[in-house]
C-alpha cells in the first residue's frame, strides 16, 4: 500500500516511530499525483520543489525529537484562492494568471508554522463560484470515483486530491457549500467551521459575510486535527472570533447516547435522489441505535435560503471583485483610456459565471432595487438565523443529506445555472447562519458513487458537531477507495 493512502494520524504515528520519513511520504503523494493528475486535474500548481524542502526540514525536526505538532511532515494541499507568498495564486481565473502574492494567508502561515508540507494549489470554480469545478478558467477537475463525473465544487480540486491520495488533507473554502458538497461527491470528510473561527486573511474574498475556510480529510479525527491547527484569533481579520475557541477533538469518542438530533424536514423530498434519502435514513437509524433521540424539525426558511444566498453572495462579490481592474496585478488588456482598459480587462478576464454573478449582485444593490433584493435578503437572513436558533433550543445537532444527489456527469448542469445552484441547497443555510456544518461519507450508491451526510451544530458548537460526526463515521464504516487508485497503483 502506498503511504499516500494513510490517514494523518496513521502517518504522524509512523513519522514519530521512525518507520516513515516525511520525504518518503511526500514522494508517495507526488507519485500518486503523477499517476492521477492527467485524469483528474485536481491541482493547478503542484509545488514539488518547495514541498521537498519542507519535508526535509520536517525530517530534521522529527529526527531531533522536536516535531512542531501533529501536522509536521504531513502533505497538505491548498485551494488556489488562498494567497501563498511567491507561489502563483489564480483563483482559477484568467484575470489572475501569473499572480504571485507577496504574502501568505493566515491559514498558510499557520500550516507552515505547524510543519505541514504544502504540496500545491488545487483547482476550483473561478473565484469559488460554482458547484462542479467546471467553471475553472484552466479546465475542470474530475471525480476520482468516476472521471466522467464532476467532483462537486467549488473546492473540487481539494476534495479530489484528498480522495485520490495526492494529498493527505486539503483546505477548501465554503461560501455556500463549497467544502461540504464536493466532500459529499468525492467521499471525504469536509468541514465548514463557525464563521470567524478560521481567519479569512489572505483568502481571496467571494462573499465576505459567508466565506469560511475548512479542511478536507479522510477521517473525522483528521479533520479535527487540521481544524485545531488553522483555527484561532487573527488580529488581521476584524471578523475573527475573539472569545474562547471550541476544541473539535473534545468529544470525538463520547458517542451520541442521550443526544437529541434533529432532521430538517425541508431538506428532503423532491430533487433528492432515492439512494441519497435511503442512505440518510440508514444513518439516522444507526444514530438512533447508538442511543440518540432522533426528532423531526421544521425550518421553513430553508426553502428560501437558496434565493436569499443568491442575492447576498453576488452582492458582496460584485464589490469584492471590483479590485480586479488590470491596474496593479494580473491580466491587463490595453485600452485607449483607463476606463476602457478596466472594462476590457474585466470583460476578457472573468468567465461567464463570474460575470453573471457580478451583474446579479450589482443589480441587487442598485438604487431602486436595493430594498426589494439585497435589503429583503438581509431580512430573510435574519429570519433564517432566528429559526435555526430556535431549533437549537430543542436539539443538540441538526442533520441532513450533504447533497441532494451523487456526483453528476460533466456538462450535465452547465447550461442550466438554476439546476447547478440547487446542488448546494442542503449546505447554504449554515452559511447564512454562520453555524458550523460538516460532511461525513456514509456509503456508495449502486453506481459506486459516494453519498455524504451533513451534521450541523450551533455557533461554536464544533465539539458537538464532531462528536456526532465521529459516531456517523463509526456507524457507516466507510472504507471504500476509488477504483482509479487501485488501477493506477
Amino acid at each position: 500500500m502506498s503511504h499516500a493512502d494513510l490517514t494523518i494520524s496513521e502517518a504522524a504515528a509512523a513519522l514519530r516511530a521512525g518507520s516513515l520519513t516525511a520525504g518518503d511520504l511526500l514522494e508517495d503523494v507526488l507519485e500518486r499525483a503523477s499517476m492521477t493528475e492527467a485524469d483528474l486535474h485536481a491541482y493547478l500548481t503542484l509545488d514539488a520543489d518547495r514541498a521537498r524542502v519542507a519535508a526535509g526540514r520536517s525530517d530534521e525536526r522529527i529526527a531531533a525529537g522536536t516535531p512542531l505538532g501533529p501536522l509536521d511532515g504531513i502533505p497538505i494541499a491548498l485551494k488556489d484562492n488562498m494567497c501563498t507568498r511567491s507561489v502563483e495564486t489564480t483563483c482559477a481565473s484568467q484575470i489572475l494568471a501569473g499572480y504571485h502574492p507577496p504574502y501568505d494567508a493566515t491559514v498558510v502561515r499557520r500550516l507552515k508554522e505547524a510543519g505541514a508540507v504544502l504540496t500545491g494549489k488545487t483547482n476550483l470554480d473561478e473565484f469559488a463560484m460554482g458547484s462542479s469545478t467546471e467553471n475553472s478558467g484552466y479546465g475542470p477537475t474530475r471525480n476520482p470515483w468516476n472521471p466522467n463525473r464532476v467532483p462537486g465544487g467549488s473546492s473540487g480540486g481539494s476534495a479530489a486530491a484528498v480522495a485520490a491520495g495526492s494529498a493527505l488533507a486539503a483546505l477548501g473554502s465554503d461560501t455556500g457549500g463549497s467544502i461540504r458538497q464536493p466532500a459529499a461527491l468525492c467521499g471525504v470528510v469536509g468541514v465548514k467551521p463557525t464563521y470567524g473561527v478560521v481567519s479569512r486573511y489572505g483568502l481571496i474574498a467571494f462573499g465576505s459575510s459567508l466565506d469560511q475556510i475548512g479542511p478536507f480529510t479522510r477521517t473525522v479525527a483528521d479533520a479535527a486535527t487540521v481544524l485545531g491547527v488553522i483555527a484561532g484569533h487573527d488580529p488581521l481579520d476584524a471578523t475573527s472570533w475573539r472569545g474562547d475557541y471550541p476544541d473539535p477533538t473534545a468529544a470525538l469518542e463520547s458517542g451520541v447516547n442521550g443526544m437529541r438530533i434533529g432532521v430538517i424536514r425541508e431538506l428532503d423530498g423532491e430533487g433528492y435522489e432515492p439512494e441519497v434519502t435511503h442512505a440518510s435514513r440508514r444513518t439516522l437509524d444507526a444514530l438512533s441505535d447508538a442511543g440518540a433521540e432522533i426528532v423531526e424539525v421544521s425550518i421553513p426558511t430553508c426553502d428560501v435560503a437558496l434565493s436569499t444566498y443568491y442575492l447576498i453572495a453576488p452582492a458582496e462579490a460584485s464589490a469584492n471583485l471590483a479590485r480586479f481592474d488590470g491596474i496593479r496585478y494580473g491580466l491587463r488588456v490595453p485600452g485607449a483610456t483607463t476606463e476602457e482598459m478596466m472594462a476590457k480587462t474585466r470583460g476578457e478576464g472573468f468567465g461567464p459565471e463570474v460575470t453573471r454573478r457580478i451583474l446579479l449582485g450589482t443589480y441587487a444593490l442598485s438604487a431602486g432595487y436595493y430594498d426589494a433584493f439585497y435589503g429583503q435578503a438581509q431580512k430573510v437572513r435574519t429570519l433564517v438565523k432566528r429559526e435555526f436558533a430556535a431549533a437549537y433550543t430543542e436539539v443538540d445537532a441538526l442533520v441532513s443529506p450533504a447533497s441532494p444527489t451523487v456526483a453528476f456527469e460533466l456538462d450535465a448542469r452547465t447550461s442550466d445555472p438554476l439546476a447547478m445552484y440547487l446542488s448546494d441547497v442542503c449546505n447554504i443555510p449554515a452559511n447564512l447562519t454562520g453555524h458550523p456544518a460538516m460532511t461525513v461519507p456514509v456509503g456508495l450508491d449502486s453506481q459506486g458513487l459516494p453519498i455524504g451526510f451533513q451534521v450541523m451544530a450551533p455557533a461554536l458548537g464544533e465539539a458537538t458537531m464532531f462528536r456526532v460526526a465521529a459516531e456517523v463515521e463509526r456507524q457507516a464504516d466507510f472504507t471504500a477507495r476509488p477504483e482509479l487508485i487501485r488501477v493506477s497503483s
Partner: protein, 485 residues
C-alpha cells in the same frame, strides 16, 4: 472682501469638509501616515487592495473622530457602521471606498461662528469616518485627465484616515462660509488630530450652493463646487457661484444639479462634462468589519481628553476683561503665548494688560527676532507689568526691559537696573533738573506766561531729556506747573 447679496435673493450653503487625520498608521492597516514621501513606499496588501487582504480599524482614528464630534457638540453613536461605497477609479485600489452611510460615528452638532461682528450657529449634520484614496498624476498636456497620455499612481495616501464633516445648509453668505471653514480648521488644529494644512490637502472644503427668492421656503437646485485651495478662494468661489446662479435664473435659465470646479486664476466656476447624472454608489454594510461600539465609559474617557477650544477660550478672556479683539487674537495664538498669558495672570498680572502685552509687545519682539521661542515666563512678565503700574519704569522703558528679559539678561528689576532704566523717584533730583531747564529756556517760560500753555509739553520733554528719560513724567509735570506758577 466687500459683498452684497443680489437683491431679493438668498443663498443656501452647506459645506463638506474632509480632514486627514495624522494618526501614526492608516485607517485599516499598519502603514505609516506621512506626507511628502517617495511614491508607493508606505503601502501593504491592504491599502493596495491586493486579493485576500482585509481591513482592521484604527482605534486611534475612532477616538479622534469622536473627539472632533464632541468638539462640534455632536452626539456620538453608541454603535456605528461602516459601508462600502462602490465606484471605479484608478486611484481607489479596491474600487470601493470604506465609508459610512446611515449611521456615522458623529451626528447632530453645531459650531458657533463669529462673523461680521456677530455670532451664527452652523448646524453639523454628521461627521463620518472613511479612508482616503491614492493620488493620480496625469502626464500629458496640462495635467488634466482627459489630455493625459499616461497616469502614474501613488498609493501612499491610500487608506489614510479621513473624516468628512457635513454642515447643515445654515450658511447664507460668502463671509459666513469662510468664517465657518476657518473656525472649523482652528478646532481641528486645536485637537491636534490633523495637520489641517490646506496647501497639502490635509483639510479640504467643498461647498453646496443653491439660491432662492428671499420669500421662498423651498430650496433651489444645488450645485457642488470643488477645488478651493484657500479660505479666500472658498469665499470668492461661493460669491461667484451665487451671482452666477441668480444671473442664470433671472435670465430665464434653470440651474442644473452638477459639480463645478473653481478656477482660481480666472475667478470662475466651470462645470465638468456633465455625464455623471446621479451616481449610484450601491452602498451596503462592509462585511469585513463589525460595528464600531463606543460605550459610555469609552466616550467619557475620550471626552476627558477634549482640550479647551478657541471659542471657549475667547469667552474666558473676554469675561476676564480682555478687549474683544485682543481676546480673539489671543484665543487663536500659539499655545506657548496663551500659556504665558495664563501664567502671568496667575502671578498677579491684570488680565487686560497681560493680554495686550502678550499679543502686542511679546509677539512683536518674537516676530522681529524671527523666533517662535517665548523666552519670558509668566512670573517675569507679571513683575514687569507691576513695575510699570508702580511707575518704576516708564511704558517705553518697559519695552527695553522686556527686550533684556527675553534676551536672557535676568529678572526685570535686574535688567532695568543694569540698563539704567529705572525712573527717578527722587523728587529733589527731578526738581534740580526742572530748575535747570527753566533757567536754560527763558523764552519758553516767557511764552508760557503769555498764555501759550502747550509750551509745557516742550519743557517736560526737556526735563526727560536732561534725566535721560528716567524722570517720572507726572512728577516732572507737577513740578513744572508749580514753578511756573
Amino acid at each position: 472682501m466687500s459683498w452684497k447679496s443680489p437683491d431679493g435673493w438668498e443663498a443656501v450653503i452647506g459645506i463638506e469638509v474632509h480632514v486627514e487625520l495624522r494618526t501614526a498608521s492608516k485607517m485599516f492597516c499598519g502603514c505609516r501616515v506621512a506626507f511628502g514621501q517617495e511614491p508607493n513606499v508606505d503601502v501593504c496588501p491592504t491599502c493596495l487592495g491586493l486579493p485576500g487582504a482585509l481591513p482592521v480599524p484604527n482605534v486611534q482614528a475612532i477616538e479622534w473622530i469622536s473627539l472632533i464630534g464632541l468638539a462640534l457638540n455632536c452626539t456620538i453613536s453608541e454603535q456605528s457602521v461602516f459601508h462600502r461605497k462602490n465606484y471605479f477609479y484608478a486611484d481607489l485600489p479596491k474600487n470601493y471606498q470604506i465609508s459610512q452611510y446611515d449611521i456615522p460615528v458623529c451626528h447632530d452638532g453645531w459650531l458657533d461662528v463669529d462673523v461680521d461682528g456677530g455670532t451664527v450657529r452652523i448646524g453639523i449634520e454628521r461627521a463620518h469616518q472613511e479612508e482616503d484614496t491614492g493620488k493620480s498624476l496625469h502626464l500629458g498636456d496640462g495635467g488634466r485627465i482627459h489630455a493625459a497620455r499616461e497616469t502614474l499612481l501613488d498609493f501612499n495616501r491610500s487608506g489614510v484616515p479621513l473624516v468628512e464633516i457635513v454642515s447643515r445648509p445654515d450658511i447664507r453668505t460668502p463671509a459666513q462660509a469662510k468664517a465657518y471653514a476657518q473656525q472649523l480648521r482652528a478646532v481641528v488644529a486645536e485637537l491636534g488630530v490633523s495637520d489641517a494644512r490646506l496647501e497639502e490637502g490635509s483639510i479640504r472644503f467643498d461647498a453646496n450652493i443653491s439660491v432662492r427668492p428671499v420669500e421662498q421656503d423651498e430650496l433651489g437646485t444645488k450645485v457642488e463646487i470643488k477645488n478651493m485651495n484657500s479660505f479666500r478662494s472658498l469665499e470668492r468661489a461661493v460669491a461667484f457661484e451665487i451671482v452666477r446662479q441668480v444671473g442664470e435664473i433671472e435670465a430665464g435659465g434653470t440651474i442644473v444639479q452638477e459639480t463645478r470646479h473653481w478656477d482660481e486664476e480666472a475667478g470662475v466656476t466651470y462645470g465638468m462634462r456633465t455625464k455623471e447624472g446621479s451616481s449610484d454608489y450601491r452602498y451596503f454594510t462592509e462585511p469585513d468589519l463589525t460595528p464600531i461600539v463606543i460605550d459610555a465609559d469609552w466616550r467619557a474617557e475620550i471626552a476627558s481628553r477634549l482640550p479647551e477650544l478657541p471659542a471657549t477660550r475667547r469667552t474666558r478672556y473676554s469675561d476676564a476683561g480682555v478687549d474683544r479683539q485682543v481676546a480673539q487674537v489671543l484665543a487663536d495664538a500659539a499655545p506657548e503665548l496663551r500659556g504665558l498669558y495664563d501664567a502671568a495672570v496667575e502671578a498677579g498680572a491684570e488680565p487686560r494688560v497681560a493680554a495686550n502685552w502678550v499679543t502686542g509687545e511679546v509677539t512683536g519682539w518674537m516676530r522681529r527676532e524671527d523666533t517662535e521661542v517665548v523666552s519670558i515666563d509668566g512670573t517675569r512678565l507679571a513683575s514687569l507689568l507691576a513695575m510699570v503700574a508702580e511707575g518704576m519704569v516708564s511704558a517705553s522703558a518697559a519695552k527695553e526691559v522686556l527686550d533684556g528679559v527675553m534676551l536672557g539678561e535676568g529678572e526685570p528689576a535686574a535688567v532695568a537696573e543694569a540698563r539704567d532704566l529705572l525712573q527717578m523717584t527722587d523728587t529733589g533730583a527731578i526738581e534740580q533738573a526742572v530748575e535747570a531747564v527753566l533757567a536754560a529756556n527763558p523764552d519758553a517760560v516767557e511764552r508760557y506766561r503769555n498764555g501759550e500753555a502747550k509750551v509745557v509739553g516742550f519743557l517736560v520733554g526737556q526735563v526727560m531729556r536732561a534725566t535721560q528719560g528716567k524722570a517720572d513724567p507726572k512728577t516732572a509735570n507737577a513740578l513744572l506747573a508749580q514753578k511756573l506758577g
